[in-house]
Subunit: 414 residues, 2 copies
């Protein structure tokens, strides 16, 4: 990408009307644009970060594959069938916006905030026997929630990205095994996203139809909406909502610490709630009909992004985890004099499929350096130093300390 | 991908309640699942096709970059400002679905069917001078339309994918040049998608606020909703809605043929309609304030998919363009005996990042061959022929004739 084609600019002032650090910074840096409370456009550099996060999630989930893409709209009947049309307090409905469009169709649809009610009939239509199980399917998609007040800047939105996975099993044992496996998959994902140290597997309440606990993945963060009790040694935590003698007894050796945290993922045992509601049965090995046992597993990629900004906003380094910077390399040309050489190098690296952009904007070098710091490219390749020997030098940033080292480009083995 | 992890199965019977060929075939093949009229889930293999189409579009558009991601929800004010809340007949609105969610928020939002009304304020916030222009920005996203009757199966949906690009220019000349450039970019895209021969640049009416013509990209197709007049020699056409002496006079040498077609893309001159409505001005070189001139450019990736199925559904070859098959290679293991060898080859090819899947399902070889034909993998690698010399053979399909050639895998230079 040539930054000269990017219409977005960084701003020196904090935007008005935003309280949270994540929203203030992301707007200043030209990463998001606020459409209205809880609804933000992803500007180009931020969209790249989102895609990188989603592809990291995909990479880990694909070990147990199957990606599909369900719809945002669903018929009301799907929610009536499962009894959730009247119980979910954030459910949104859609219909015509004006006299003309209202007359075009008398139907009203639900805008999905989750997809258990949709995936169950889909899987049902393909599963007959225990031999067809287990089934797992996931998607990455926008969800909609009628939040009373979109809180903490961008943390809780009315429209947000979600990776949601659903699994269907013939036996309780198979479900348990898969559910535990997903805990480790999730831990690996948050580790790779750079928030492994701050993220706790947290005991929380399940849905209203079950007495089982669910497991949230809570990232310790000062603006988090939840209060949890963490045990550093075991990396386990208990959500305040289920903090009682029964849950504490499950971890007799824990040293509890109270903290605020933000939920970046969750996994739910759903028992046969949805398979019963949709008359979904399979023929088991003993020739009897049974309802599959189901689980659901979510990660919010956009939520992860806001949490990362909240955690790593110290000084200038906004996107500390190197693997989710918008670009791995930025080439900075010092003035027009070096632009031709810089563009040549850019073309070479693009041809090698490297994750590189060039700052070819008509601006002074210090403004370019300042932007590069803000955006947080792991490697800055600066073209234009004074002596011929150094002119193709490269500053490599140590992201742990913020220190820079000058290297020859030849030594980078690009 | 291991096909054993895919829960979807092909079906022998046409589904009931579907009239169009594209919907019937796609449901039978396990490519889509019908949620309700005009709203279809993309099952895993079909999602891969969608992603391939979208990445081909991205590749061409990225020569003039900038991808962002706007929101599906927008505040009503955005549509009031441009005067379109009351005039667009397919606009949908959203609010709470039940007593609880209605009480949570008194706001109502529009579900966007297009994004001119949203992109203009975003670009406005970053543009001050003629030096900041031109700007181009695009996204790939789901759109919503309150269609009275979702027609032609999956061709016209209530929820569908759209690549929409918007451009802003300081001068009419710059706009014209860009608009013409987009015509050639679009022609290249449809060529690469395999429907170049059938797709015509078609003169059509503009929006209500302008007297200019727009240009549609119409693919000749028996279930198409539009009637157009094509001229084979120039690859131009005229939409029936503007078929008159004035338009015909623009192409004096044309030999017109009437045909049905489906609109897979369109480009619109928008003049200063939206920049005026949003008070978007820039300071020109002569120090006067002007409104940028705007254009919009759309391609419907899901529409393209349905059209391809309609065009290429003869016999069994459903996804004829090779570059949008769900996988380029399928490895078919004949029985358990060869599964280990087949899996070894699969692992090798996956490690080389080849676009490959393995049919490791517990099924007879003929059922596997039949599915492979249906799904239309360009290359079938069949492991399990009887003699040792031939057992790692490979059938390469000539997609023009449907003929197969037996090759040694070593000769494929994978």
């Amino acid at each position: 990408m040539k930054l000269s084609t990017l219409f977005v600019k960084t701003q020196k002032q904090d935007p008005s009307g935003e309280e949270s650090i994540n929203a203030k910074l992301l707007i200043r840096w030209g990463f998001v644009y606020k459409e209205m409370a809880g609804v933000y456009t992803f500007l180009p550099l931020w969209l790249r970060v989102l895609h990188k996060i989603e592809n990291i999630i995909r990479k880990h989930i694909n070990t147990v594959w199957t990606e599909l893409l369900m719809t945002a709209l669903s018929p009301e009947e799907s929610w009536v069938r499962t009894g959730r049309l009247e119980t979910i307090d954030v459910l949104m409905k859609t219909s015509g916006a004006n006299e003309i469009s209202r007359n075009k169709s008398t139907n009203e649809y639900v805008l999905n905030c989750t997809h258990e009610d949709m995936i169950t009939p889909i899987v049902k239509s393909y599963v007959n026997s225990y031999k067809d199980l287990p089934v797992h399917a996931y998607q990455i998609q926008n969800k909609f929630r009628n939040e009373a007040r979109a809180k903490s800047g961008i943390l809780r939105g009315r429209e947000f990205r979600m990776k949601d996975l659903y699994s269907f099993h013939a036996t309780e044992e198979d479900f348990e095994q898969y559910y535990d496996h997903m805990k480790t998959v999730y831990a690996d994902i948050f580790e790779e996203l750079g928030i492994g140290d701050q993220t706790y597997v947290t005991l929380a309440s399940g849905w209203d139809f079950t007495k089982r606990y669910s497991h949230e993945f809570q990232t310790v963060c000062s603006v988090g909406e939840d209060i949890i009790y963490t045990d550093k040694a075991s990396k386990m935590a208990i959500n305040q909502e289920v903090w009682n003698d029964e849950t504490k007894a499950l971890f007799p050796d824990a040293q509890w610490e109270e903290t605020t945290a933000s939920e970046v993922g969750n996994i739910f045992p759903l028992e046969t709630k949805f398979t019963k509601a949709t008359d979904f049965t399979f023929v088991d090995a003993d020739d009897t009909k049974k309802h599959p046992i189901m689980g659901s597993y979510g990660i919010g990629p956009s939520r992860v992004m806001w949490v990362i900004v909240e955690i790593f906003n110290d000084a200038k380094w906004i996107i500390r985890p190197k693997n989710i910077a918008p670009f791995e390399y930025v080439i900075i040309a010092i003035g027009d004099r070096w632009l031709e050489e810089a563009t040549k190098l850019y073309d070479t690296l693009v041809a090698k499929w490297l994750d590189v952009c060039i700052d070819d904007r008509n601006m002074g070098p210090w403004a370019k350096f300042a932007d590069a710091e803000l955006i947080g490219y792991p490697t800055q390749i600066i073209i234009g130093n004074k002596t011929l020997e150094q002119w193709m030098s490269c500053e490599v940033v140590d992201r742990a300390t913020g220190e820079k080292e000058l290297k020859k480009i030849a030594d980078l083995s690009l």
